[in-house]
Symmetry: C2
Subunit: 430 residues, 2 copies
């Protein structure tokens, strides 16, 4: 399969490069050429696309989600994290069956792909359902069975066994589109010994670790009270940072903690929308960036966001730190877009995704630029960051395969997904 | 003309009322009925719409904009307000002709209407062009010639004469869809004597006053240095608050200043997107609300936002104050939506707009709810505030007349507007 796109505007994320009236050649799963030169022979292509009125860019990478929780979108809002989680989310999630997770995940995947997200991280339960959904969807994903350590050693061991089995079954499967991690849910939900066991398993399986960390002030204080350490030192002590590690949130950090994260090359998934909605606070993104910590963006679940539009997270990352620090240069547009693309890919150890460049995987999207909010033709990166949204996505390719064409999802039945999803919600709430 | 909408979901903004499977009757420019009762005789209607998979709600009200500045979208970003304004915006705006303002405004109106905004405030120059654009578009608008007082008394008098003439020509015109205000641009651009003259003119003409106020810390400090007063006391002293008054921004306020605004029934247009982008700060919305100040939402211009999507402003108002105060109940979803609808209408002295209720003007929109990000059918107000965007708008009516049908603008030629707009941008930058 050989595809030529001509006359397109390409935001490559190779530095701040924008190629206007350019060409891109995709052969099978790889980008073979991108640049200003017109190929002489057009006949050798299976498909030629006229990219006029289209902006091409790498697909967005969502580095923190619990996809099945779309079933709880709008179910409980405007509550503090602990109340929201313990009194509203957990009781409902306890009812979730395989089928619920299946259709909740399908709906989130539908929303994510159509909105230009090509890779995502998912931490949840019933993970076989999630992996199967990813496999059929054509997306890329980094998946992990999230382990909450309540209920004693037997329950913990069963969960760890399940997490290991999942990783064994799915790591590097689905044409290499699925990878796995190991996940203690959070320091406040996992006893230290359990976290150590998980770290050991991650070492044996040679897998990264993903966890929630320092999301709220309350959590940090409680951790200090219970263990005499703030979460960063606590996780460091338990060996979590000795493995490749991606932590979600990291809102409440001291300068010293930022240095520890940098020293151990810990990756941070910044979730601005969720952190604002749950009133967790505003993460120290400018300081994290300045220290050289690799930061990416996540929506968190649709229950705390409440959509899975990664353009919004990019925009929030660009906006809120300016307003919060009185510095209009705090996070420039190109930096925010990097968080959502190339840095997202690196954050989940994908080194051939997130940039339009020869030899990279063909994970890319097109936006319809023939709309008022993309005009005038001034700075296309500014338009993407400050003005675009999920609904501007016209086409999506992952691994060289087209998943969305003219806003239509090709790999899954959208109406069936919405129907089944609604039925699951009815069952859960009646 | 008599219209019946059946089987719709209606978010009325009459309290937090949501009517599912309801009916709405519109006769000419007014809502004649809304509720659960099915009309017995369907034959008396000129049009019957099946509202299945549609959410109907009042149109959004954007209470601060400079529409023509869409020509400068993406022209200069990530700069401090004074640098952005004085070194980038003003030199370009000085080049604007009637034609530039015409097509810049047309493009903004196109973006606003298609995105569900039915009323807007515009403060600019070449205002006849703006009023003519509003007239043909079918929108509602509260318009004002913004007066910058640099250049001496003669220039000031000429501007004031122009502003008076504009108000005389256009106030309550276009079937009553256009109203006028008088606008000293800001305390930092207008000498006190000029502001007093404008106040006097507003009194004579019985028009409200609109101005920028306390947008940045820098402005507040400079005002104190120059006049010995912070902007609120300064404007109060000049009589600005003795007229009905709408101030934009009001980011930097003391408790005492909030009390003064309340006492004088000053309305505040909160512009969260622009304030974040220009690093002006985060306004004290929870305190303003608590004090009983009437607050609404504005996008500000597309040059500092950078889109005119009022759903985003509603969402930002709901999100950022939670994150900034660690209080998840700071601005509940329904409160945020009120800012963008009914309170927006009240802010510009429209008492028959902003709510779906018998006797109110038929300014309303429909959203396509058959999309992943509107599911499950849990809390529709939550979905609108936390998940919706301009692109979800399917239909728009203003004053009982349909302006957008299935995403297509009926009153203006979209392709022509984009073409002319692009040509104006080319001229300005070459």
């Amino acid at each position: 399969m050989k595809l030529l796109i001509k006359n397109g505007t390409f935001v490559t994320m190779n530095g701040n490069e924008t190629i206007r009236d350019g060409y891109m050649v995709v052969e099978n799963d790889l980008i073979q050429y991108i640049g200003k030169n017109k190929p002489i022979v057009e006949s050798e292509y299976d498909e030629i696309i006229d990219g006029k009125n289209r902006i091409y860019m790498p697909g967005l990478v969502n580095t923190h989600n619990h996809a099945a929780m779309s079933l709880l979108r709008g179910y409980a809002d405007d509550l503090a994290l602990q109340v929201w989680l313990e009194d509203n989310m957990w009781p409902m999630e306890a009812k979730f069956t395989n089928e619920d997770v299946k259709w909740g995940t399908h709906l989130s995947i539908l929303e994510m792909i159509k909105g230009g997200t090509t890779s995502f991280v998912d931490m949840y339960d019933h993970m076989d359902e999630v992996a199967q959904a990813v496999e059929v969807s054509g997306m890329r994903a980094c998946l992990t069975r999230g382990m909450i350590g309540f209920g004693g050693e037997e329950v913990q061991d069963a969960k760890l066994k399940e997490a290991r089995a999942f990783a064994n079954d799915w790591h590097e499967k689905a044409d290499g589109r699925i990878t796995a991690m190991m996940s203690p849910h959070a320091p406040y939900t996992c006893p230290p010994e359990f976290i150590e066991k998980i770290v050991q398993a991650a070492q044996e399986l040679q897998l990264p670790i993903h966890t929630h960390m320092s999301e709220t002030q309350h959590e940090v204080m409680e951790n200090e009270k219970q263990y005499g350490l703030r979460p960063v030192a606590h996780l460091q002590k338990l060996g979590v940072f000795d493995q490749p590690c991606l932590v979600a949130h990291a809102v409440h950090l001291t300068d010293e903690e930022i240095s520890i994260l940098k020293e151990h090359s810990v990756h941070v998934s910044h979730n601005p929308g969720s952190n604002l909605k749950l009133a967790s606070g505003i993460a120290r993104l400018p300081e994290l960036k300045k220290a050289g910590v690799l930061v990416s963006l996540g929506t968190d679940s649709a229950a705390s966001n409440n959509n899975l539009d990664m353009f919004e997270e990019v925009r929030l990352a660009a906006l809120i730190h300016k307003g919060n620090t009185y510095d209009p240069t705090a996070i420039p547009a190109i930096e925010a877009l990097r968080l959502g693309t190339i840095d997202g890919a690196k954050s989940i150890w994908l080194n051939d995704v997130g940039m339009l460049k020869e030899g990279m995987k063909a994970d890319f999207i097109s936006l319809n630029s023939n709309q008022a909010h993309f005009l005038p033709k001034s700075d296309v990166i500014s338009h993407i960051v400050y003005s675009a949204g999920a609904s501007d996505v016209q086409d999506v390719w992952v691994n060289g395969k087209q998943l969305v064409k003219n806003k239509e999802l090709l790999t899954m039945d959208e109406e069936k997904i919405k129907f089944e999803f609604n039925a699951r919600f009815e069952r859960l709430t009646n």
